[in-house]
């Protein structure tokens, strides 16, 4: 009979029950640029198609672009739609947005083979840096899609109430291990019969102490709780320098 090792697996372990889950582990990627200065904080955004990842990225950029040097890498599944949405809405100058092509497998490009994304991040640092914050947006994917620690320092998983209030209960690595779970489109809850209380309770059961925030990006300053979390992460990142 196979017995598990007595110690907890040191990295994020998707299958662990919530009581074993710990504070986010630091990224395995080097934290300095080639010139020795501390590189930008990298935050990944994942989640199902249509949950509001691109809208979240756009809203974060609008809030923080005056005070921070920001760049975005998008991982569209088969188009440049997300990159073009960000360009059309002029949330950042074009040279600060880069699109990675993912060969029909968005989760591969953010988890199993991160080379193209790493190069996109490094190229942005080189061409428009020094950067304070890089947002890496995954193509819309399934509930098991998570970012490699070699690519990002922290990750946000975005789901929405219209996708069904059962999603937090179903769990999966995205819901249970992301550093921040965003439940978006709360304004639609009454229309789709979603129970936010149930979603909050299920998310707590899946995630233990990891934070969950409810947003309605259509409302004025609906992004505020996410921006507050990003600021916190940035403060930790800078303090650790």
């Amino acid at each position: 009979m196979h017995l598990d090792h007595p110690e907890t697996y040191p990295q994020r372990y998707a299958a662990a029950p919530s009581r074993q889950r710990r504070a986010p582990t630091p990224s395995s990627a080097p934290t300095t640029r080639p010139d020795g200065t501390r590189r930008a904080l990298r935050i990944g955004l994942g989640g199902p198609v249509g949950s509001g990842k691109t809208a979240t990225v756009a809203a974060i950029c609008r809030q923080l672009r005056e005070e921070l040097s920001i760049a975005v890498v998008t991982n569209d599944i088969y188009t440049r739609e997300d990159a073009e949405f960000l360009l059309r809405n002029a949330v950042l100058p074009a040279e600060r947005i880069s699109a990675v092509e993912t060969g029909a497998c968005p989760h591969t490009a953010i988890r199993d083979d991160i080379s193209a994304n790493l190069e996109a991040v490094e190229d942005l640092e080189e061409s428009v840096g020094p950067l304070d914050l890089v947002l890496v947006e995954s193509g819309g994917d399934n509930l098991t899609a998570t970012f490699s620690k070699g690519l990002v320092d922290a990750q946000i998983f975005v789901i929405d109430v219209a996708g069904g209030d059962k999603i937090p209960r179903k769990g999966g690595p995205g819901v249970s291990t992301a550093d921040l779970l965003v439940v978006n489109k709360t304004d639609l809850a009454p229309l789709v019969g979603a129970d936010l209380e149930v979603m909050a309770r299920d998310a707590r059961a899946q995630r233990g102490e990891l934070p969950v925030t409810f947003t309605a990006l259509t409302e004025p300053d609906g992004i505020a709780p996410v921006v507050a979390w990003v600021r916190e992460r940035l403060a930790c990142w800078t303090a650790a320098a």
């Binding site: 599944i77 088969y78 188009t79 440049r80 990675v100 092509e101 993912t102 060969g103 029909a104 497998c105 591969t108 490009a109 199993d112 083979d113 991160i114 080379s115 193209a116 790493l118 190069e119």
Partner: protein, 228 residues
């Protein structure tokens, strides 16, 4: 044991489709061929792969073998440029070379890889990097040629499964049927690489015009699943 000891298992690591060097996002021309109706089933996939193996595959295998045998990688990089008419394919080869470089340096650190990375920070042609990676892993020119030749057909086969919803057993059977031809291409490539150590012009320059033309068109598509 040191990394310079030849080890067959290192070839499995290097040639594994899961080796994190960016290959998963590329179809090797299969996406364009499928859209044009030239590949639609296992038989046409096999014909496509055979054609690619004998042209782009042979050239890549010879470049990789020559790099593994110790030919000057910067001159090989130029030779690769000269053998790749399509600017889109040259860019793809350099992009993939840069990604291969990152993975190879993490797996088999070596001064030769460091030197090429410093000389070509935006990426050298992928087969040249692959050849140096093979050498760094303790593998020989024939191993490098096998890895490059296999990649020339495994990429399109995987892409066809995703694009055509082809039965994955059929697609893999295509690769299995091509195995003897893969061996022959690898041997031809090594023979050419040996001659190329004296004269780089001995490297094969087989070309598939349709692959080159279709790659240019594909690069301009607004909607596509694969980067190339």
């Amino acid at each position: 044991m040191t990394t310079t000891t030849a080890t067959r298992a290192a070839l499995l690591v290097l040639a594994d489709g899961r080796f994190p060097a960016g290959g998963h996002a590329h179809s090797g021309g299969a996406e364009a061929a499928i859209a044009a109706g030239r590949v639609s089933d296992p038989a046409s996939l096999e014909a496509f792969c055979r054609g690619r193996l004998g042209t782009a595959g042979l050239v890549a295998a010879a470049l990789a073998a020559a790099a593994a045998a110790g030919a000057n990688p910067l001159l090989l990089d130029e030779a690769a440029d000269a053998r790749t008419p399509s600017p889109a394919l040259r860019m793809t080869a350099r992009k993939l070379g840069r990604q291969m470089m990152r993975a190879a340096r993490a797996c088999w650190p070596s001064p030769a890889l460091d030197a090429l990375a410093a000389a070509r920070p935006r990426g050298a042609h992928q087969p040249v990097v692959l050849g140096l990676a093979a050498a760094a892993a303790g593998l020989g020119p024939l191993d490098a040629a096998h890895a490059a030749a296999y990649e020339a057909v495994s990429g399109p086969a995987t892409a066809a499964v995703r694009l055509l919803s082809l039965d994955p057993f059929d697609a893999t059977a295509v690769l299995a049927r091509l195995a003897p031809e893969l061996d022959r291409v690898a041997e031809l490539a090594v023979a050419a690489a040996e001659s190329a150590l004296d004269d780089l012009d001995a490297l094969p320059a087989a070309s598939a015009p349709l692959l080159e033309i279709a790659a240019e068109a594909h690069a301009a598509w607004p909607v596509r699943l694969f980067a190339s």
